[in-house]
């Protein structure tokens, strides 16, 4: 503050510089921070799915509306079911059914793999906190 021509004598004296409108601006700023935190962070929540068949993207969909996706593969049809906020492999022609038994997936980054029919279901989202899954 050198050269500003003003010296603040006690620790709380800066408050005299604030006008009522300034408080309103500061409060509004805090509110925006809190709101964007809630809006954007949503830790790990999924917002969409990517369905791949034989390694290529077959469908991309949002998790906001219920939907059924039939995905053809070498063994037959894998059926993906989407509900608001979650998705699952509803049925698959593979022999071991591991991807069906995984049930509903809801977190960004979660994957169900129906290897025999070469179909994968991946949940996407801003909060995905990993790039690949070790199993």
């Amino acid at each position: 503050m050198r050269g500003a021509g003003l010296r603040l004598r006690s620790a709380g004296a800066w408050r005299v510089l604030l006008r009522p409108g300034d408080w309103a601006v500061a409060l509004a700023g805090l509110a925006v921070c809190a709101a964007s935190g809630l809006w954007l962070w949503r830790g790990g929540e999924a917002d969409g799915v990517i369905v791949r068949a034989a390694g290529k993207v077959f469908a991309q969909a949002s998790l906001s509306h219920p939907r059924r996706i039939d995905v053809p593969g070498p063994l037959g049809m894998t059926v993906i079911e989407i509900e608001p906020g979650r998705a699952r492999v509803a049925s698959d022609p593979g022999p071991r059914q591991y991807c069906v038994r995984q049930g509903w997936l809801a977190r960004a980054g979660a994957v169900a793999i129906c290897a025999p029919n070469e179909v994968s279901l991946t949940l996407t989202g801003r909060g995905a906190d990993y790039d690949s899954l070790n199993y």
């Binding site: 997936l105 790039d131 690949s132 899954l133 070790n134």
Partner: protein, 346 residues
């Protein structure tokens, strides 16, 4: 001047925000199906053409390995196994001969708990098949095999000719090839000038470089839930592998039979749900990430000793009853998804 400064700062902020968004755009990913599982390769690069060409190279290499070392569809490996079963010797490719020598070395390090010669038992247990029938093996056939148990050091390799002192030896590279594929992929990508990539071969993962300066992150699958147990960064050259009872198994009369057989008993083991090892940046790190989890998985409560044999300090075990045990070094890296009471071991 202040206004200009503020405008400049604002512009910088927006730029940083935009670039943060761009990061995801610069990750190029493709997946494929080999070794009966999914592979996926992510490359972080500026040039999409370079990334695509490099990934295509890697997927072609995976196809080659799949075709050369398939355990039950006609391949160089099935030809070798037919020769060994009939007491003949076999002229192996230099690559296969080297893999077998490496497997013998790893068999010794793992005190016999890593043994790729038990293919006949894996077949008897029904895991060598595209079909699926939950059943225990024919007791007589299994007893006959146990009477003359195959060991990978029954295999003799001389000048590229491979023979076996025990005709029951049937090589199955199921616990080796995925890791080998990681090492091959890393070499191919580097040869193509790719510095930053994440390679996943059926759950075994290796990282190269980073993702725009941020480390790659991997999730470790929970063995009994659909989500992840924990996440962690994976740094340049590191590889992670898990042996578990939840990927290939069948249930019969309430008992879970997993595909990993104990070479000592030729039976599935039951004490562990999942055993994860993290291998640092070292030569053949991919192979080690695949191989070193097997003996520790099979060793039950003796898992920590087994990981030490391989010089591994980062390991995690989910025991048969769901208890989580983790080494001190790995604990420091893990972020558990839900509060977990993990006991830390040295």
């Amino acid at each position: 001047m202040r206004a200009v400064g503020a405008a400049f700062a604002l512009l910088l902020c927006c730029g940083a925000w935009l670039f943060a968004g761009c990061d995801r755009e610069r990750v190029f990913q493709r997946e494929g199906y080999v070794f009966g599982t999914r592979v996926d390769v992510s490359v972080y690069a500026d040039d999409p053409k370079l990334a695509d060409a490099a990934i295509a190279d890697v997927l072609r290499e995976f196809d080659r390995l799949h075709n050369a070392y398939h355990a039950w569809k006609p391949s160089e490996l099935t030809a070798l196994n037919e020769a060994l079963a009939s007491g003949q010797s076999f002229e192996a490719s230099p690559e296969l001969a080297e893999m077998l020598r490496d497997a013998q070395r790893l068999f010794e390090i793992g005190a016999g708990l890593f043994d790729p010669s038990v293919g006949a038992a894996v077949e008897l247990w029904g895991f060598h098949s595209d079909a699926f029938e939950p059943a225990r093996p024919d007791p007589e056939a299994l007893a006959a095999l146990k009477a003359a148990p195959p060991r990978v050091n029954d295999v003799v390799i001389e000048n590229g000719r491979v023979s076996s002192r025990n005709p029951a030896v049937k090589i199955d590279l199921g616990g080796y090839a995925k890791g080998y594929a990681l090492d091959r992929a890393a070499a191919l990508l580097k040869g193509r000038g790719i510095q930053n990539a994440l390679i996943n071969v059926g759950g075994n993962i290796m990282a190269l470089g980073s993702k725009g300066g941020q480390p790659w992150r991997v999730g470790i699958q929970h063995p009994r839930q659909s989500g992840v147990l924990a996440t962690m960064p994976l740094y340049d050259g590191e590889a992670i592998g898990t042996s578990g009872d939840y990927q290939r198994y069948f249930e019969l009369d309430g008992v879970r039979y997993a595909h990993l057989l104990d070479p000592r008993t030729l039976e599935p083991s039951h004490g562990t749900q999942a055993l994860t090892v993290l291998v640092g940046n070292r030569p053949r790190g991919g192979v080690l990430s695949d191989v070193a989890s097997k003996p520790a998985y099979l060793a039950g409560e003796g898992w920590r000793e087994q990981t030490r044999h391989f010089g591994i300090e980062h390991a995690l075990r989910v025991a048969g009853d769901g208890r989580v045990e983790v080494t001190r070094a790995l604990r420091a890296r893990l972020a558990f998804s839900e509060p977990v009471k993990a006991s830390v071991v040295d």
